[in-house]
């Protein structure tokens, strides 16, 4: 800078005073002439600094441009000083000092500007390739950092999504639980106790008096492992039933007998199958129904055992553990047992049972259930509201008994209520009696071919009474021999037999009685048949007796006899038929045909030849014919002379 070219400055003074302003009246105001220093300043203003700085810049390269204005100041000074160059021997020193000052000033200004931070801030710029390794490491770190941030953001988002999906599922399960609960609510009684939901599976609201509380708990089954596959039968709602109601139970009623005189009483062989999962029914529903069944079975059994202990009977009922044993008839044992099996055990137990003969009385088991429900209903309906309303609760009969002056009989007639056990024993007796009657009739029918027995059972029976119509006929002669028609009314203890002619005979439950009665009826039938046949054949009935007082005594009933005479009176046939002794047929020949008879002197006249001769027994077993009546017909035909 010190060696730079000097600026050429020409100085001249103005010739005249300058007009400053012309007033409106034309008077001119002149600017007063400048003093020496004023003039200098004015001249200095006219210097074109930019030109000078350009030339200067070549020397001071690399200097930032922003100090230009600072230089301006210095230049101005320079301009004034350069007025007399080389006048001063310290010129170079001065120049150097001046430039140093300038530099300092610029530096100061720059620093002050930077320090203010109002207009500009200093940032490190590292475009310099020579910056070395440090910035690269820094870059790496910053890159890593930003990547980490980005990753974190992504992770956060993913987590959020995941959570919402889980929540959704959770919600859905929750909703499922609620809908299941609603379904449960529509079928079972529920109530909320604390934070638990309890349900009632007892029959109490239906009139049961069984003290078992029968409470089950509803469990929310929503926290299952999401990673695992959800099982197909998954249900968000589960029920917990009391442990003593788990599994399955049934009441088994069977009749054991010492003598194998009756066959299998069970009509159908129903094996207890595990409950099939029906489509559309929930698991909890099956579970609850099974538990309710167990409860009902327990109630039935409890009721039966209580009655068994209370009721006085000739042969006391025995209650042992889960079995009640009673003796309806001598030699017969009715056993009612409660079979309760839980879960897994059941499958193992039923399989060996299967081959053994199943002597369940399903009808009775069913009836027990039905009677229990009837009992429930009765309980409900027996509680009637009092009228007038102020009267206390209680049975109506108690309120009626006093004012209406009931006597003991009337009260007990109102009170009488047969227990479950009594009813079921009566039913068992009836079933037993019926099946034994059927068996007796069947065995007689198969044993005895002549005459035939037909039994017509009525389809519709009462639980305590059923009836059968017994016809005794001879094959081929059904139309003419229908004398014996019996109506057997089988009750609980006895059988009432109603004859066709209105006679009523009451038989006890003993099998032998019925058998003997039927045998005697069959023997009577044969004699009746002869009588009927004689009418058809034109023979005359000479005598007829159902109960013959003569001859050997029969062990069963009485023998019956008939005597018929041929149309012309020559022959007569006598038949004696006893249930035990069998039939005996005698034919009486006319006297004339009998050569063996000694001629009597007294009866010489021919008219006496019409007197009947002696009887001769027919070898009946050697007669032709497939049955008794046919044989008789043949015999009659043989003895009837041809016209």
């Amino acid at each position: 800078m010190s060696g730079g070219p000097a600026v050429r400055v020409s100085i001249e003074s103005s010739c005249e005073k300058q007009v400053q302003e012309v007033a409106l009246d034309g008077t001119e105001t002149y600017v007063p002439p400048l003093s020496m220093s004023q003039n200098l300043a004015k001249l200095a203003q006219r210097i074109d600094f930019s030109q000078g700085s350009d030339s200067e810049e070549e020397g001071a390269e690399g200097e930032p441009r922003d100090r230009e204005w600072g230089k301006q100041e210095g230049e101005e000074e320079e301009g004034t000083v350069k007025f007399q160059p080389s006048l001063w021997p310290w010129d170079s020193v001065r120049n150097n000092l001046r430039s140093a000052l300038t530099e300092m000033c610029v530096l100061y200004d720059v620093l002050s500007v930077v320090k203010e931070k109002k207009y500009m801030a200093l940032d490190p710029v590292s475009q310099d390739p020579t910056a070395g390794k440090t910035p690269q490491v820094f870059q790496l770190i910053s890159k890593k950092k930003s990547l980490a941030t980005a990753a974190q953001l992504l992770l956060k988002g993913a987590e959020k999504l995941n959570k919402s999906v889980t929540e959704n599922q959770e919600n859905r399960r929750q909703r499922d639980f609620n809908s299941e609960l609603l379904r449960l609510r529509s079928q079972w009684k529920l109530r909320k106790v604390g934070d638990k939901i309890l349900g009632d599976l007892s029959y109490r609201s239906a009139g049961s008096l069984f003290p078992h509380h029968g409470t089950f708990e509803v469990i929310k089954n929503t926290d299952i492992d999401l990673d695992k596959k959800i099982p197909e039968d998954y249900c968000p709602l589960d029920v917990q039933i009391p442990s003593d109601l788990e599994g399955s139970a049934y009441i088994k009623v069977s009749i054991q007998k010492q003598s194998p005189d009756i066959g299998d009483l069970g009509t159908v062989n129903l094996f207890r199958r595990p409950l099939k999962n029906k489509a559309g029914t929930q698991q909890w529903h099956l579970k609850l129904e099974a538990a309710q069944n167990v409860l009902l079975c327990k109630e039935i059994f409890a009721q039966l055992s209580r009655e068994a202990v209370q009721i006085k009977s000739q042969i006391p009922h025995i209650v042992v553990k889960n079995q009640i044993i009673s003796q309806p008839f001598p030699g017969l044992q009715l056993s009612i047992s409660l079979c309760h099996s839980t879960g897994e055990k059941k499958n193992q137990r039923t399989s060996p049972e299967k081959p053994s003969p199943d002597n369940h009385l399903y009808v009775l088991e069913h009836n027990l259930h039905q009677m229990m429900r009837e009992f429930h209903k009765q309980q409900l309906s027996s509680v009637v509201m009092p009228h007038p309303a102020s009267a206390p609760f209680g049975h109506k009969r108690l309120r009626l008994a006093g004012p209406l002056a009931y006597d003991k009989a009337e009260i007990s007639s109102l009170q009488q209520s047969e227990g479950l056990l009594e009813k079921i024993i009566k039913q068992a007796k009836h079933i037993f009696l019926r099946s034994r009657t059927a068996r007796t009739i069947d065995s007689l029918a198969s044993r005895i071919e002549d005459p035939q027995i037909q039994a017509h059972w009525s389809n519709i029976n009462d639980v305590y009474e059923s009836s059968v119509k017994v016809l005794i006929t001879s094959q081929g002669y059904e139309q003419i021999c229908k004398s014996i028609q019996l109506q057997l009314n089988i009750g609980v203890e006895q059988i009432r037999v109603v004859h066709r002619d209105g006679r009523v005979i009451t038989l006890s439950h003993q099998e032998q009685e019925l058998q003997d009665f039927l045998l005697s009826q069959m023997s009577q039938h044969q004699v009746h048949a002869v009588q009927q046949l004689a009418k058809v054949m034109g023979w005359h009935v000479l005598s007829f007796s159902n109960h013959v007082g003569l001859g050997p005594v029969e062990s069963i009933g009485n023998a019956s006899a008939v005597t018929v005479a041929s149309p012309n009176g020559e022959y007569s046939i006598s038949v004696r038929n006893g249930p035990e002794s069998g039939c005996k047929v005698l034919v009486q020949f006319p006297r004339s045909q009998n050569k063996e008879l000694p001629k009597s002197d007294v009866i010489q006249d021919t008219k006496w030849s019409h007197l009947r001769g002696p009887y001769k027994e027919v070898n009946w077993s050697r007669m032709e014919g497939r049955n008794f009546v046919y044989k008789m017909e043949l015999l009659m035909a043989a003895l009837t002379p041809c016209p």
Partner: protein, 209 residues
């Protein structure tokens, strides 16, 4: 004619020593439906029953002491059912913390000639009224929601005039004396009927003043 002397003593002892635990309240006619609805939900599962009863209150005045009071009631809706004769004792003072009013109570079913019999005994009818309403049952508890009507012509139950625009609600239990758990049950049941009806222990002897 002078009434025969009677012992004005509550009937006690024997098997008939029963106590009536009672809570009373009332609802306006407009609120009846919602109360019945609530009761149907709370009470035993039975067919809701209505009743119409005719009650006659008989007095026997002795020479000294309080008159002896008996209530004879018959059902107008079930004319064949027996009459009901009832003696109600004074409320027991006893335990203040008890939630229900407790009083001695004797219930007798009677034949249809009860009014004549009471007249012969010297009782005189004090007043009579007809009550109609609904009866509910919850275990041993009896809830009677009834409207009382005044009889305009004595003896004619057809011609009546209702006493108020509200229904009387009574919750009562018959129990042997000293069973205070009963009143606990009653209180919890009454709680469940709030705020439809507030059942309270109301002493009739204090009501009169």
């Amino acid at each position: 004619m002078e009434a025969p002397p009677v012992t004005v003593m509550p009937v006690t002892g024997g098997t008939i020593n029963m106590m009536e635990y009672l809570l009373q309240g009332s609802v306006l006619d407009q609120a009846l439906e919602s109360l019945l609805h609530r009761l149907r939900g709370l009470c035993d599962n039975m067919e809701p029953e209505t009743f119409t009863d005719h009650e006659l209150v008989y007095l026997l005045k002795g020479q000294q002491g309080n008159p002896f009071l008996l209530r004879a009631r018959r059902s107008l809706s079930h004319p064949t059912s027996p009459w009901h004769l009832r003696y109600l004792g004074q409320p027991e003072v006893g335990d203040k913390s008890r939630h229900a009013l407790v009083r001695n109570c004797v219930d007798v079913a009677a034949s249809h000639t009860l009014p004549e019999f009471l007249n012969e005994m010297g009782f005189r009818m004090d007043h009579e009224f007809v009550t109609t309403g609904h009866i509910f049952r919850k275990g041993a508890m009896k809830v009677v929601v009834s409207k009382l009507s005044r009889i305009l012509v004595p003896g004619n139950t057809e011609n009546t005039e209702r006493l108020s625009l509200s229904y009387l609600v009574e919750l009562s239990v018959l129990a042997p004396a000293g069973q205070d758990t009963v009143s606990e049950d009653m209180r919890s049941f009454a709680e469940q009927l709030k705020p439809l009806v507030h059942l309270e222990k109301i002493d009739p002897s204090k009501q009169r003043h």
